[in-house]
Amino acid sequence: MMGILKRRSKAPAAETNPPAPPPVPAPSESLAEKADIPQDKPALESFFNRDYYLRQNVDVANAEVDPLEHYLAFGEREGRRPSPDFDPAFYANRYADTLKGLGPLEHFALHGQKAGHVTSDEGFDYDWYKRVYLSHAATDADCRKHYQAENQHGLLQKHGNERLIALRERFIPDEYLELYPDIVGLDPWVHFVSAGYREGRHLSRWYRNGFGHIKRQALEIRKQGWALRGIDIALDRGDLSALDKLASSGCQVLSAFEDALMQLLKDVASEISSLVVVGALGIGGAERYAANIFRSLAAIHGIENVVILATEGEIGQGAQWLPAGAKVFAISDYLPGADRPTRARFVRRFISVIQPRTTYCVNSRALWDAALHPKNAALQNYSQFFASLFCYDYDPKGNRVGYAATEFWQCFDFFDTYLIDNEPFVQELIRQFSIPTLQRAKLRVVRSPVAVGKTPKRTVDRPMRVLWCGRLARQKLPFVVSRIAALCPNVYIDMYAAAGDTAASTLNLPSNVSIMPPYDPKKGAPFDEYGAFLYTSLWDGIPTVMLDAASSGIPIIGSVVGGIGEVLTDQTGWPVNDPNDPQQYVNGLLEALFDPAEAERRAQEMLRRLEDHHSWNAFDANVRQIEHGA
């Protein structure tokens, strides 16, 4: 439920299927400078878990920028965590009066740790922690210090199973080590309490909880086994004299995978009509599309009967697009660190148990992998499947990649319908894969909805300033922005930039360009503060930020690639046909900025177009038709 949402987010501003970015050599030094990064980085290093940060933030890992620098420049204000136990938003809120301009992590490093400040509200069950790890005499501060000091393997827990308290009394560390020499180097009890019991490991050779009276059972087997002596040569070879010392198995002890699946099922615990499976729940366009599907399904089936499951990333800021009471879950909350095949297996098993009538795949790696499974037809016994596609991505060599290029054609039949947010991409897929006429109905245009109200009254404070939003990535052509700015020095461009595969320091930005931190997704991009919106891209579906801009009434100058041409025409804005030609953008920018009457006329036309093609009612009707046909 929304109540269990984590604060952390996936990387921001991935408008559509994120491309696989190539490595870039240089860290974003200018990003750091412009973002006012504190100079005492070394003091922060010991509180910053680089591996964790890179693991949790794939966009940062892909960009190969310095993770601490990224955290300080962007991550902290986006609510990303520098370590599993430090929640910057929580810290900033709790100690707002004492921060005095310092960032949360910096404050904790310099002052908070000494003062014993709490770093997260997902906090300690101090009583449990003392009884399991320390003693009754320990203080709350002792618990926090112990946790900080000893959790280098990530095995300690802040709260947990009451059963473990009783088990501690029976635990014999030497026997556990003898049984499981693979844990050498770790504290045996810490291993058992945090991982071993979930993995079905025995407390000791002699103790097996939940299996009944072992000695009595062993006696009975011995007696009845002796009565069978001579009838089976393999049974005869067995040793019936020490049966109580044999390993035990049974459903009383689950593997970590089984336990995680059971916990998720218990947390869902209701009949599910529809399931939306997403890769992550960050603030990208795909996630927003998934959230809109969820809203529509919730209206059809009731919110309690729809689940959204993130299969790769965590529950991030994209969850804010979901209605209150939404059932939102992430595999990472149940099976942290699960590898790709495990996540695919997990999602298969989950679907086979809850048996939703319909399942929607929105950029979920795990569900696409399940669809590619050689026995994928089995999964169709449990649900009817739909997938969304937005556009191709392109690798640095210009090859098409992404689900549409690599998975779609291999498991075309698995999904009943493909929801595609623009008509040009439907036509492209039909051409590329020679999809037969009878099969084309599987490709359905379901355009993203956008709220269109009355004509907005734009009160622009900075008419000569231009807004650009996106990732600093090859796809988004930041080099072209630099060249545009150089051609019109009297126009100022603010780039609200999320980290991507391109370092800002390599862009050679002129002085009329400013790098800004990514905008707050809760508030949206500040369209009202700018005279025009500039969008540069090599490939796209219909980016949601473009739709947001369109609905705000801001004049738009943008490259016409993918599905953008459905929205941006010379009637609704200033389309640029060659995305690499800065002069075309400049021509549009100057006309938009210096001819307000024309800008207003095109903005009005844009709003009409949105009402025709991108209304909520149209989107909702599409989903309803799909559901009714299912």
Binding site: Q217, I231, R349, N376, N381, Y382
Partner: protein, 254 residues
């Protein structure tokens, strides 16, 4: 016509000489049952058997054995077919390479007759054995305080060697395995289905089975193929009851 208390069903396929061990263990269990006044008919249903298996069945003389040759190519269908032939009030299954403890039938009948609710019975413990290894597999009892029924959704708590009234098997037939298509685990699915119908799975105190661990088995094949458990309603049943311990609802129907 004399009433039959139990039909013992041996599911045979291509076990070869191994099926003789099973037959001998069944013979011992029948003997103990008879000593307790329990009448047992023994049926071997041989599904597409090889010659050796069939010959061993035909030549076994320690039992009065009814042999049915089937062409199902599927264990679930063979179980269902056998139940259709059975005359006993109760049916007890054993796979053609596993062994019952000698007390199994007598104690299972005794427990079942004392119970007023509809139940499926399992031995308390299984000894898995092979030439090189042994371990215990413990069955839970749904009446146990610490038993969590949600576990059955993620792992199969009981083996296929169950014992229940024939009416239970007739009312809830096994679902055919489609291993080549990716679904299977007919016993897991059947356990889930019966629980969802309010039937209780219990253990018979002081009973055991001996389960042969082969280098290759259908369960292994199913696991290798990452097969999914055939459709059942247990999740709906548990969800409707909430996360707390689910209460069985069915009363004895026959």
């Amino acid at each position: 016509m004399k009433k039959t208390d139990v039909t013992a069903v041996i599911n045979a396929h291509r076990e070869g000489l191994m099926v003789a061990s099973t037959l001998k263990s069944v013979a011992k269990a029948v003997q103990v049952a008879n000593e307790h006044g329990i009448s047992v008919e023994v049926m071997a249903i041989a599904d597409r058997p090889d010659d050796v298996t069939l010959k061993v069945l035909e030549s076994f003389d320690q039992l009065s054995l009814e042999i049915r040759v089937a062409d199902n190519g599927d264990l679930a269908e063979s179980r269902n077919e056998a139940v259709g032939y059975a005359n006993g009030d109760f049916v007890a299954f054993v796979d053609g390479d596993d062994l019952w403890g000698p007390e199994w039938i007598a104690r299972a009948v005794n427990a079942a007759r004392k119970e007023t609710r509809e139940c499926v019975w399992h031995p308390e413990v299984n000894l898995y054995f092979s030439d090189t290894t042994q371990w215990l597999f413990h069955h839970p009892d749904m009446d146990a305080e610490d038993f969590d029924l949600w576990r059955q959704l993620v792992t199969n708590c009981w083996t296929a060697l169950s014992f229940a009234r024939r009416s239970v098997y007739l009312s809830h037939p096994y679902v055919r395995n489609e291993i080549s298509k990716g679904t299977g685990y007919e016993d897991w699915s059947w356990n889930c289905t019966t629980i969802a119908k309010g039937i209780i799975h219990k253990t018979v105190p002081d009973t055991c089975h001996f389960i042969r661990k082969k280098s290759f088995s259908m369960v292994q094949e199913t696991n290798t193929n990452e097969a999914l458990v055939s459709r059942h309603d247990l999740y709906s049943y548990l969800s409707a009851q909430g996360v707390k311990k689910a209460e069985p609802v069915a009363a004895l129907t026959s």
